[in-house]
Amino acid sequence: MAERSFAKEVLHLKTGKGETFRGEGILAITKALLENGVGYVAGYQGAPISHLMDVLADAQDILSDMGVHFEASASEATAAATLAASVHYPIRGAVTFKSTVGTNVASDALANLSSGGVTGGALVIVGEDYGEGSSIMQERSHAFAMKSQIWLLDPRPNLPSIVKAVGDGFELSEATNSPVMLQVRIRSCHLLGEFEAKDNVRPTMTVKDALEHPKRDIERIVLPPASFLHEQEKISKRRPAAIDYIRSNKLNEHFGPAGGKVGIICQGGMYNGVMRALKRLGLASLHGDCDIPLHVLNVTYPLVDDELLAFAKDKECILVIEEGYPAYIEQEIRAILHKAGARCAVEGKGPFPEAGELTGPVMYSGISTFMTQFAGDLLPAVARAPNRPEQDTSKLAKTVPARPPSFCIGCPERPIFAATKLVEQELGEHHIASDIGCHLFSINAPFDIGATTMGYGLGPASASAFNDKKAERRSISFLGDGGFWHNGLVSSVGNAVFNDNDGVIVVVDNYYSAATGGQDILSSRANNKSKSTQHTIKKAVEGVGVKWVRQIDHTYDVNKMRASLKEALTTKVKGPKVIVASSECMLNRQRREKPLKRAAVAEGKRLTRTRFGVDEDVCTGDHACIRLSGCPSLSLKTLDDPLRDDPVASIDQHCVGCGNCGEVADAAILCPSFYQADLIQNPTRWDRLFSKWRNRLITKLQTRREKKQLVFSGGLS
């Protein structure tokens, strides 16, 4: 059911020793897990590791052949709690989710896991949704590692390094009885590259073995007095063990000359960016030679004091390159040098901005500022006086429009927000709480709906305070089916029932977790051979005590959608009013149905191809339809008519025939310009016969009218 199938790619997971593995970062990580004898894998989808979950799901047969259990968790908290299997048993386990949002959700389980510690290697693979293309708040995962004493790996962004980090992570975890977090950034996840494969290894102990031979150790359970001992143990035993392991296994790397008056320390993930900036400054080559000593932290927590002191020795100044705020690494390095009485100066945030992604230009200007100040003599002439003419782009800047993400062509969520806009036109504006998911695009034009987003499944929860029986308006809140099952059922809907909140809750149901790529969830409509699906949202909300529930099975019916919303906002029934608005994600539906339809047409089956159109001479060019729809295939065109000033609406070839534009035109009583054209593919004999009769009669009527009046053609009309 997932948006992208990896069925072909996962066959590469069987690649053996000595062969070259070519693929994306996420596929490489999966392969590395198998090479390292992982016993179970779990996770929750979300960019940038959505495809990792898809790869694992598509690789399910390969995994189970190897005795590896895979689970698509209900949330990141569930995923993190799954690692409990490595507490008493020497089974290697890995979980994955996006960060920092997923790590936030998982943090309770992660904190408990790291307090008691682990026996089998426990790896938390976090996909950093940070920087360009990110859809979440910009924070660092580093803080989670520091507060819970989870060791944090940030390997150099190339497949061999990432693959090595998976193995290092398991061993480090086992050597220190602590969970390890492996950070991969957006671009690393989607990076296409190669590495030399090893043979896959079956887990030494499987979850089946563990189930059949249960064990417990009260020392590992988080309850006093053990919890106080854990706190001490983390600092006195596990952390020193980690530092020893990192040092003796040389997990951090050194590049460039051994000595020099300046040096650079960077996170592993920053390495390629640093090298590119150095190359542009004439200080490094494409193949990794560099003139400046470079200490690369493939482990960013904990830091190894003596490695850093040795690096700083005899240097006048070192530059710490660290992405995001706060500058935890820089602060700690300063503290380490200060405690040791080292005389080396430290730069970091200063040449570099305090916050934000370290993009190419930021990296270039940061390093170049540092070098100019502290080692200008090392810079070649070209770097000291870069000679590039400034381009004047002010006119262009005023012309090029922004292109915010929005709903796809035929998206079933569009009519929900069109209906909401129409209800607001009738009943006035309301406080509207949004949630995470495609439906959050409602905050953009043309809908401009929604005031806040507080977290996945927390849309209605974020409207909790707006619960005043004397108020004459109710709040409206949205959440998706993904958010609903993640957390929304209890935190949002259950809470509204319990606190007798009169607000309106709209659950946007796309038949599966659409925004993250179409992964199945409890209410998915499809049959999934390894999962239990088709548990309806309606039954679930009724189960937690919602009295007023409306199920809408065709969201494109804008009139019905609007009527339900209006009823929910005005009914006298107490407690939350829940509307479950269900229609399948059009993007995935098209991907699934298009090839099937094409095949059916080729076989000669009778099918109807529906598309919509606008009669250009009926359209008056007011564009009200666009303001209520925003469909990408509904655009404008200029007519060859000197009498017209404004372009008219027009529907392009990408129309999928969802009917939203026509429905909106009807519901908002806009205009009669829209028509639906159903092409009959492979018509039957009857189709042809009826069509012939109809056409004959229609032509007769047309001819009769035309005979009595002037008919203009060519040029204008």
Partner: protein, 502 residues
């Protein structure tokens, strides 16, 4: 000293390439092809993209680096840096503009491959007027920003070949010659992709061998003469009317002919004669006013009522256009469903004026009628019943001038003409601006009413403006403001300005 660069004489072989696309255009497919091309050509390649929300119809970016394969691993960057790009591929005109703005296209080295077609952004198409960005400015700027550019409409090439724009952009890339790979290698990559190979190759070739001169724009339609057919007496009448246009100021003749065609087509010859009288009257005050009168009086006279819509929807020319737009060949069967939603107002408007007015004056009757009529109606105009019904409504045309709607529209027209006439005595420029305010009245039902209320607001400002030397400039500004947004905020602030300046 710079030993690192000395060590590595090959560092100049690095090629950086970015693809800027609109989510859903197939930017990923194109980037994969380029990666495969590089591999096939003996290059080490790294490709990255940012998946996530941006790919849902937003602006999205893919990045590739490649260098000749050696025994040493190259260190490739993961994201593009302004000023450091050899090739930039943009799948749409404004995305090319955005690439220039982001510094990804520089005149010292960047080869720009861009499709110049437009995918309008929501901010451009949602205005009540025309909010589209100026294409020509962007086309000029992207050309001057690039070292070398290959820019033409690659979407049209792809669509003609039944393929996606990724294929024609790949052709554009081959055409530019900026990568060190033979054309046959590009084609091998497409063949190896295995899906829609023939169509992709056709689109690839189309862009590769594109000839700007061969697809020069067709002659402007204005030069095509209007043909008229019909009963002999009507044609004679038409020719007599048409001859009067030649006596109008030269600059307004084309507009007046278009207007006359529209009005006669809308109603009949006598309606056309009425139109001509108005235009002739205003043409005495100069060319500019003649053109404005020719355009906006025609539009005001041809109001959109049920009869008009029924007429347009049942014409044979409409059937032909629909088939063209939907790419449905003659002989194929198409079912056409119209989305109608008539209200009591529209029904009353299509009744004899006395009866319609009586119903409107009696709220109970009116609301009863509204309850019966006011709902969405789907009418199949390929079927006998649906077509027949609309055909019958269109046949009411000869009674149109007796209907209630005509009474309203005539009153509106006469008021507009009177205002323009008064202004024309002293300020023909202002009279032209007044007539142009007819542009504000668009749409049907609520939209139409909103248009009227804006029109009333703008025209209402005349009392503050009349006599002022800048009156016509102000009225034009108010009209633009009225078209600038949906909720009328721009108009209200412009009106406040008028009042504070008076």
């Amino acid at each position: 000293m710079s030993s690192a660069t000395d060590n590595d004489s090959n560092s100049g072989d690095l090629i950086t390439l970015a693809v800027l696309a609109v989510g859903g255009q197939g930017g990923g497919v194109l980037t994969n092809w380029i990666a495969d091309l590089a591999t096939l050509g003996g290059y080490a390649v790294q490709m990255t993209s940012v998946a996530g929300v941006a790919q849902r119809t937003g602006a999205t970016i893919y990045y590739l680096e490649m260098a000749p394969k050696t025994d040493r691993q190259a260190v490739f960057a993961l994201s593009p840096t302004p000023g450091d790009l050899d090739v930039l591929i943009a799948s749409e005109l404004m995305e090319a503009g955005r690439a220039v703005l982001r510094g990804f296209v520089t005149p010292d080295r960047t080869t720009l491959i861009a499709s110049t077609h437009r995918i309008l952004a929501i901010s451009e198409k949602s205005l009540p007027g025309d909010g589209r960005a100026e294409d020509s400015l962007v086309e000029e700027e992207i050309h001057s920003a690039a070292f070398h550019s290959v820019c033409f409409d690659m979407e049209a090439i792809a669509s003609n070949a039944g393929s996606m724009i990724s294929a024609s952009l790949f052709g554009g890339l081959a055409r530019s010659g900026c990568l060190p790979f033979a054309t046959s290698l590009y084609e091998d990559v497409i063949r190896a992709s295995g899906r829609g190979v023939e169509a992709s190759l056709a689109a690839f070739q189309g862009a590769l061998n594109y000839d700007a001169n061969a697809v020069a724009k067709p002659a402007p339609p204005a030069s095509v003469a209007t043909e008229v057919k019909g009963p002999a007496d009507l044609v004679t009448g038409w020719n007599a009317l048409r001859a009067r246009i030649d006596k109008l100021p030269v600059d307004s003749q084309a507009m007046a002919e278009a207007g006359l065609v529209k009005v006669v087509d809308y109603q009949d010859l006598s309606y056309g004669e009425e139109y001509l009288q108005y235009v002739e009257e205003f043409s005495r005050h100069g060319d500019a006013l003649a053109s404005a009168a020719a355009k906006y009086i025609a539009n005001a006279m041809c109001y959109d009522d049920l009869i008009r819509v029924a007429d347009l929807k049942t014409r044979s020319s409409r059937q032909a256009r629909l088939r063209g737009e939907q790419h449905i060949p003659d002989g194929d069967i198409v079912q056409v469903t119209e989305y109608f939603h008539p209200r009591a107002q529209e029904i009353c408007g299509t009744l004899p004026a006395g009866l319609g007015a009586w119903i409107e004056a009696h709220p109970r009757c009116f609301s009863l009628l509204d309850r019966i009529s006011n709902k969405g109606r789907r009418i199949r105009t390929d079927g006998i019943a649906g077509f027949g019904m609309l055909w019958a409504v269109s046949a009411l045309k000869s009674w149109r001038r007796r209907f209630l709607r005509h009474r309203y529209e005539s009153a509106h027209l006469q008021a507009l003409l009177d205002r323009a006439r008064r202004a024309a005595q002293t300020d023909p420029g202002l009279a032209a601006e007044i007539l142009q305010c007819q542009r504000l009245i668009k749409g049907y039902s609520d939209t139409h009413e909103r248009g009227h209320s804006r029109f009333a607001k703008v025209i209402g400002a005349l009392s503050d403006l009349s006599g002022r030397p800048d009156a016509s400039a102000w009225l034009g500004r108010l009209r633009q403001a009225a078209l600038a947004d949906e909720n009328g905020a721009a108009l209200d602030s412009a009106l406040a300005e008028v009042r504070s300046n008076s």
